[in-house]
Subunit: 121 residues, 2 copies
Amino acid sequence: MLITIDPASPQPLADQVAASVRAALASGLAAPGDRLPSARNVAATLGINLHTVLRGYQQLRDEGLVELRRGRTAVITEGADRLRLRLAEAAEEYARAALHAGATEEEALAAARQALLTMRD
Amino acid sequence: MLITIDPASPQPLADQVAASVRAALASGLAAPGDRLPSARNVAATLGINLHTVLRGYQQLRDEGLVELRRGRTAVITEGADRLRLRLAEAAEEYARAALHAGATEEEALAAARQALLTMRD
DNA sequence: CAACTGTTTGCTTTTGACTATAACACTGCA
DNA sequence: TGCAGTGTTATAGTCAAAAGCAAACAGTTG
């Protein structure tokens, strides 16, 4: 289970840590029951602060993807369904593109609905 | 051509200015050849700084949506209609990904809606 | 017990967004 | 031509969020 970041990216480091774990989960590189490396370990490896890593881990906990308890490393929960994650990732990417194209929420949803309909035939 | 912002949003004001223009463009409210209000005017109306508005305008220039020259107000370029095409393309790509991930139409729309909502902030 | 884990607290440093002010160079129009 | 209005550039200050630093705490594991 490898966690990587890009210090040059404007995205907050903690978000990148969480995104890195989500990506591993979505690609099947990590599965429920697996454990994440310890926050201190990740912090030392990446050359960032312990708090920053933990903030990323806590994002994942808030999303129900991992379970955190002191004394133990983070564990990937059973409910971390790969397909749903992939769907959420695709939706996130689409939302970003739609908003950047200047679409309102309604317009973006309408465009998605039409694309889904024409694709089902 | 109206430009609006939400001071309570965590999104940078300059980005909001640019997004507001893109939205007008995507919805057909603004068309190629139209001119944007002067940056000083917008800044005074919205109660924000001239630089902030200009930074938003420069984003649009970098995207090729408007043309900026000193002495004249910004002009919407001819190729600026392609934003709508981009939305349709993005929607099609998302639909393909969602169906491939095994999502139903309702699930795909729900995922898109949530992504749009969480991204609004 | 010993060595690890996440948790919490308090503080400092850094970074970026935004503001403020001013001068500059170009355009459009009376 | 004169002049008001435009975007451009430069410099500096303010503020909040992100990130870092340090230390103690409270669990788990072997």
